[in-house]
Symmetry: C2
Subunit: 277 residues, 2 copies
């Protein structure tokens, strides 16, 4: 039996959706279709959505689950009249918080986004630019300005992670890929010269060799680069280096980019320059 | 009077922090310091954190606010014994949801992250790679594969937005910057030839000219590129083009990257390839 959940907001919908997914993930055996409806900020949009909710209830034969962070009471009421099981985040938690803080809440649209937006924007732009400029070992002379330098073999997840760190936390992440140029005369991966002065900033990424081969195959099929032997060899070398130099590292096969990034911050004590919303 | 709020989780902490910031943003006049503590996944870590909370209560002269999504009950209890005003997300909402869904919740660690992680990872990698390959008009022959093409003047926010769309939603966003090459013989910005077949995929970004001048100054100080006259002129041309060709557009001065991206999705009806966690 399928059911539907609506995450509704007059803003981005990020809070309602994050909480909603987190709650509903606890019901793994229930077949729940999740729909996010951001920017429901007029009576007309609310009325249209209420009609959709009503049609969904009829189709499913069950009332939808409704998780909302709508601030405007007139709009909220229109949604409330639609058939649904309502999880009311703001009302549930704001009243006790008002009492605890001994003050009234402003309860105003999009309040989260109004604080220091300019600074946040500039920090993000700077950090994204830094990640792009210092992607893939392109430059090594800005490593003194890096908050962290991600190291690992080609295609192990360095670029997406460095961009996520930049966008979400304003952290300046450079990344350096190990290549054949970094092997010594015995074919052993050595610490690349450019990284020596910044050993304290290094964080390693590794990945399951089979997964790596699959990713590389999409990029360059039928090459030595994507062969399982080559991938096994490179990963073995990289992990040995991490252990030899006590570089902390994470296996990206097992974790999402959110987890990789937040684990790095937790392990290194890195300071975020901005806060996620 | 300063108070402290702790967002605590045995996972990434993203849910606790997102909800916490959203709730506390409603108390704009309260001076609340917010601290996120992810990966509190052992008794030892919990005991250390409980000690920190206790010390904070003494220092502030007020008990801290504690918003948590800890799943393990043993760990949770250690935190619960610390002095604090607790906002208990899971217990508050899961019980009524269990009743509504007529089933038990799994309430297991990091459940959200286990579903289809492989697909999500590949979609993200692909979309980030697409955004990078098609950044700044570098290539124009892949526009048939783009979900959306962001257009606007240099430094108006196209690159961070396209990367956010890729990382957060798996959307393939290319971007094309208007340059002097796109002016016709009368000095009027014309529709660039490479974009003509993809008019339906275009989305414009604009920005306050003063803000643009400030951003460009950081990149190339004392240039014509960063002068206010040049910025005014370019923005005027870009906005005229958007209006002339009925291209939807957003002013990045007023919105965060989250808002820009979610508004684009809402306005265009773009399908996300992945869901944010």
């Amino acid at each position: 039996m399928a059911r539907t959940a609506f995450f509704i907001s007059d803003g981005t919908g990020i809070t309602a959706e994050t909480l909603g997914r987190s709650l509903l993930a606890q019901f793994e055996n229930s077949n729940i279709q999740m729909i996010t409806k951001p920017y429901i900020d007029s009576r007309e949009k609310a009325q249209n959505l209420a009609a959709v909710i009503e049609a969904t209830a009829v189709r499913d034969g069950e009332r939808p689950i409704i998780i909302d962070t709508i601030v405007d009471q007139t709009i909220r009421e229109i949604i409330t009249r639609a058939p649904g099981f309502k999880v009311d985040i703001f009302t549930t938690f704001l009243a006790p918080l008002e009492e605890e803080l001994n003050t009234h809440s402003s309860y105003s649209v999009g309040r989260t986004h109004a604080i220091g937006q300019d600074d946040v924007y500039m920090q993000r732009i700077d950090s994204v630019q830094f990640a792009l400029d210092n992607d893939d070992g392109a430059r090594v002379h800005q490593y003194d300005k890096a908050d962290i330098i991600l190291v690992g073999v080609s295609r192990c997840g360095k670029t997406p992670t460095s961009l996520y760190l930049a966008l979400q936390f304003g952290i300046r992440a450079a990344n350096y890929p190990f290549t054949e140029d970094d092997l010594d005369e015995d074919g052993i991966l050595k610490m690349p010269k450019a990284l020596v002065p910044y050993r304290h900033k290094l964080f390693g990424l590794t990945i399951d060799p089979r997964r790596l081969a699959a990713i590389r195959t999409e990029r360059r099929p039928n090459s030595r680069y994507c062969s399982i032997d080559q991938c096994l060899q490179e990963i073995h070398q990289a992990e040995s280096l991490f252990k030899r130099f006590h570089i902390p590292y994470i296996d990206t096969t097992r974790f999402s980019i959110e987890e990789i990034s937040t684990r790095m911050i937790a392990e290194t004590g890195l300071q975020r320059r901005i806060r996620p919303r």
